[in-house]
Symmetry: C2
Subunit: 706 residues, 2 copies
């Protein structure tokens, strides 16, 4: 035990050390950690876990003797009421004490010198609790004989009434206002500054901006930001459906309930997940996933089908619709969970299985539907529609037979089919669908602006077709439609490039003189009819992807690369390559990319092969019931809260009636509940959970599947 004065000194240092780029543990600036942390908002009745940690740094600027307090205590008080121990407050048994160590680097100098700081930890976790009464709460961790870490929690006002039958959430991954502006410019004709057509999202009546920063970093990744949109809780980069703790197990972190789990539990609505990404990718899988480590692809697919199994949690038996790429997590092999055949697992659970566009169209609307159309992410719109010869170079048949997948649906086909299934299966309970244009982000990462904007236009075309289809089904007025992004990239269009001049000029500086700014940007040549060019891609897409005068565009954050501002006809771009064979990454201009262009040296660390995400707020377009609540500027967690309010997902009590919409037997087993803010797990479940927790300390997450 350390003395109080030493603690105070350590505390000052901690503030300095941890509120920087390198952090001991996100959302834990002091030596006592409460997750959910200070300033957390909750939906009334939303399930969550609580994780407490007490840190004892062994060395480094925070060193306090290295003996973590095993006797910490934890209380909760509703505003104005007496603080009660969490066991009393939630009517749960006291969890057993856990212990572990972890290391971190205080800064880049420490990282270079390989001098990690070691931290010893004592910890407890309270599993699956909920707060039902709106208002303010104070959660207090008492440790080191008088030190307190206080978390102020807010349960938002209660909205139990369902105002929208259906919610469709379109996510353009990485999509910013700059990109929408550029997509409009290349896809829509204008005359003397007046657009003759505009984007479908341009026509939405309500616009908002959401802030995408994460809990402990102002730049987010797609897991963390998706999780905020789906659960109302910001987390740490790479985490979804949990707050990241410091333990080694990526599946023991404190969970929060997602909109899909709430909707299944409370209304029994149909759930749809559609993405052009690998289905285990962050944006689709964060609807059902709970892990600190987004790269646990196989396990996350199992969670999507079977729900959380290592702790009592909201039962979940798979989405009604699950369409996308990522076959490597489905056919048996090294990338599927425990090597199992997940096509077979989904089929056993009653899913129709579609592996191409033809079978997708034929799948019955009344069954749950799995559609997996390629290994890894789906080929992008530009390759599917304009340069289809590139498809033949792939080995991405979803059977895993290394043949190219050629009978491919796009986001539009998947989304319209999803609506048919969800409409049939949801019935009066309605549905929730997330539909993602994933490669806007993925192609921006590799600076392939054309492919990114092509997929943005595909997303917009999908939105347009969705509105039409909902109208035909008589469901448009019942459906809240939201279009947003999870984060941005610093993409910008700043002029035009005369590619003929650029290509013919010699020298990097001379080539740059091909760039026209202001009046010399001229007008978009992508919409000029050219009799020699026809892609048959219909309206609202470029008429010509390869005009002489192209967009001069780029990003502020990139690896070394070379620009010639022309479309990459033979496939997606690879801007930088690791020229060494060394294990350490060190990226330079790809010698084979844009060979007639000029070099732009990078602005990010040389071990980054791609562009990176942006700080920027991203737009939110809304129409339908509750659309008005999406106006103005707000946090990404408010997208969840506004959807949850519109769907009436809050619950003011743990009455069994609130829990019986899911058809999983586990629910009735665990619902032996009491009133007033309490939602313990059933007795048998709890025993299992605690057994698991002890077990995990020794053997890690490999046994999670038990």
């Amino acid at each position: 035990m350390v003395s109080a004065s030493r603690l105070a000194a350590a505390s000052t240092l901690i503030t300095l050390a941890t509120a920087q780029t390198f952090q001991r543990l996100g959302a834990c600036p002091t030596l006592g950690c409460v997750f959910p942390p200070d300033q957390t908002d909750f939906l009334a009745g939303q399930y969550f876990d609580i994780r407490l940690e007490v840190h004892a740094p062994v060395n480094g600027s925070e060193a306090n003797g290295g003996i973590p307090d095993p006797n910490f205590s934890f209380t909760i008080a509703k505003s104005g009421a007496v603080a009660r121990p969490a066991t009393t407050f939630f009517k749960v048994a006291e969890p057993s004490l856990e212990k572990w160590n972890f290391t971190w680097y205080e800064d880049l100098f420490a990282q270079d010198a390989k001098t990690p700081s070691v931290v010893r930890v004592t910890s407890k976790a309270y599993r699956r609790v909920a707060l039902y009464e709106p208002g303010e709460y104070v959660a207090t961790l008492n440790y080191y004989n008088g030190t307190k870490t206080i978390a102020n929690w807010i349960v938002r006002p209660l909205q139990e009434q369902k105002k929208a039958k259906n919610v469709i959430l379109f996510i353009g991954d990485g999509m910013t206002t700059n990109m929408i502006t550029a997509a409009r410019l290349i896809g829509h004709k204008s005359i003397n500054g007046k657009y003759q057509t505009t984007m479908a999202m341009d026509k939405f009546p309500v616009l908002g901006h959401q802030m995408t920063h994460s809990l402990d970093s102002y730049i987010t990744d797609s897991a963390n930001s998706a999780s905020a949109l789906y659960s109302g809780h910001k987390s740490t980069v790479n985490a979804m459906g949990v707050y990241a703790d410091s333990s080694e197990d990526p599946f023991d972190d404190p969970k929060v309930e997602t909109i899909v789990e709430l909707l299944t539990r409370i209304w029994g609505s149909a759930i749809g997940v559609v993405s052009t990404a690998q289905l285990a990718d962050a944006t689709p899988i964060a609807l059902t996933g709970h892990t600190r480590l987004r790269s646990q692809y196989g396990a996350l697919i199992d969670q999507a089908l079977s729900g959380v199994k290592n702790y009592t949690w909201t039962p979940f038996a798979g989405p009604d619709v699950f369409f996308g790429g990522g076959a490597e997590q489905f056919y048996p092999g090294t990338d599927s969970w425990q090597g199992k055949d997940y096509y077979a697992e989904f089929a056993k659970a009653g899913y129709s299985i579609s592996l191409n566009k033809t079978s997708l169209a034929l799948a019955p609307n009344t069954s749950k539907a799995l559609g997996v159309f390629s290994v890894t992410h789906l080929p992008v719109w530009l390759d599917r529609n304009v340069y289809p010869a590139n498809l033949n170079k792939t080995t991405n048949d979803p059977s895993g037979n290394k043949a190219p997948a050629l009978d491919l649906p796009g986001l539009k086909e998947m989304t319209l089919k999803a609506i048919d299934v969800l409409h049939a299966r949801g019935g009066d309970s309605g549905f929730f669908m997330m539909s993602e244009g994933a490669s806007i982000d993925k192609q921006m990462h590799v600076l392939d602006y054309d492919r990114a904007l092509g997929d943005l236009l595909e997303l917009d075309d999908t939105i347009k077709a969705t509105i039409k289809h909902l109208t035909e089904l008589g469901e448009l007025d019942n459906t809240l439609i939201i279009v947003t992004a999870d984060h941005g990239h610093g993409f910008d269009v700043f002029g035009s490039a005369d590619t003929k001049y650029l290509s013919s000029a010699s020298g990097d500086r001379e080539k740059r003189n091909a760039i026209g700014n202001y009046v010399n940007s001229g007008l978009s040549q992508y919409t000029v009819t050219n009799a020699s060019v026809s892609y048959n891609t219909g309206v609202n897409f470029p008429v010509n992807w390869d005009p002489r005068y192209t967009l001069a565009q780029g990003v502020g954050a990139a690896p070394d690369h070379r620009e010639n501002y022309r479309v990459h006809k033979s496939g997606s771009r690879l801007p930088a390559t690791n020229i060494d064979d060394e294990a350490s990454d060190d990226y330079y201009v790809n010698p084979d990319d844009n060979t007639d262009g000029f070099i732009v040296n990078g602005t990010i660390a040389t071990n980054e092969a791609q562009g990176v995400h942006s700080l920027t707020d991203v737009p939110v377009f809304a129409m339908g019931p509750c659309a008005a609540s999406f106006a103005g500027v707000y946090s990404n967690i408010d997208v969840f809260f506004h959807m949850a309010e519109c769907l009436g997902l809050a619950r003011g009590s743990a009455a069994p009636g609130n829990l019986d919409k899911s058809n999983k037997s586990i629910v009735s087993a665990s619902v032996q509940l009491v009133a007033s803010g309490v939602e313990p797990v059933g007795r048998v479940q709890r025993g299992l959970v605690f057994g698991m927790m002890v077990f995990q300390l020794c053997i890690g997450w490999a046994f999670w599947g038990l």
Copy 2:
């Protein structure tokens, strides 16, 4: 005269040649030009000029013999009605024929080879007409014995009722969503991802996006975009209050009436213009200016005081409030119009004159008020508040005595004083004020991100203070407040920079490893209290402008430059310099800038010394009467139309009662009008105008002051 078949062939070539970076004349893709061009929208009763041109290219890809048609004709038809000659339609005399030549380059190759294309022109201009009946019109230019250029015009639905007493239009010049996000990050504290305070603009209930592209280029400048916001008419880069014609005179281009002119004419409201820029700079001066050439600073200040004098036009006798920089157009000298003393001219017109913050505070609220506080643009917020020693290096006293201006108001002080004067002077007629944070743009141009964001925070602080002040005056509910930008820059924050590591690392690649992305971005250090740092700048500004961990930020479009991501303490940044003494500009990294940083080579032409504007849509925040009309996505011209609708500025007839709110005698002289869509100038005025026009052909704009 050329044959019809030859014309057809030429026409094809024209389409290809002119719809590109280099254009013969914006908004004129064929050889016959109508300004206002096809697709123009009008406010009912808004004055405008019509310019017709017939082009005869002498050489180049469009060459048609080089003899322009002197016998062209022009008709107008309201939808469904018979086309009538413009003279009949508007009841005006036939203008005399004008002739001139001009040259242009078809592309960069032609420019390098110095082989211009010569065009001969015949032209006529109809001055100060208006369309009063809402609906669709077809304007047809007939030339070359059967060729037609058709302009479809729309007069928007009539809204004569005034719904807002006051309108305040805040413009953050060049301000994007990315910049607002960054300013929020450095100026507002957050705890675990939840902001404890937010920007004033974040709290506005309505959000929209406006598209900023210009008539003939997708990247605009500030003149053109300001003009669209103020008049509802997009134009060409560098133009304001006019469509750009091909004649040499920059003051004979066809004009459009601005919101300030309309409001003065129709309601007699008080007018305020406030900017941190030189008052003759595009954004403030486009409220009253009519020229193709924004660099006519002196003449534009004269126009602001006295209105348009070379043609009959809406009388204008100066704004009630005119606060900003740009003293060089006021004290007598080479930069003032005709060398005159405009302090004296404004004083003669009844203005109080303030040249510093102290006298500004003391100026009477009941008089018209001129405040000029520095030569050129005002020093930025960062220098005024954090690094004031930099002010002593200036020679910008508004007297022109080469001393530094030290008693400086900021945007907030100017704006609050402006409200007091406008409130007193506007009375029941209310007021319109444009208040501009100009150096957001100017500092982004030189990649001085800190100074740009400082001025963005100053703008936001001004908005906050304005709302408070309007509340105190009992005017908040009467006032439509809009916050927007005129265009963007491709600014982005993509991570953090450990400036200590960056500075100590050797080599450009090694330095880049100081950049942290995603989780290694960490949290903002600009809001961390540091006992050793205090600027006394109050809340909602950074606590520390020089933390070890700064924002890693930048733009996609820049000249060669060097980055170390630290604040520039000794004054605004100069990223690139012309290392040659040659007349031809050729910019390289400034050897004195960020000497411990790493080089980022440019992406724009090497004769550009600064970053450039962006394509991106920019945000519009609105509150107060009519705010709802600013939701969604629209063109920048719609900002004008929404304001005009809210102010009831449309007029369905030319009744004299619509013209008597201005106190200029010229109005009564010229109002000898007839009904039905017609608004001719008075007889005496017209004679003068025509005389002027002939005169101008010989001697150009130098005699404009007559």
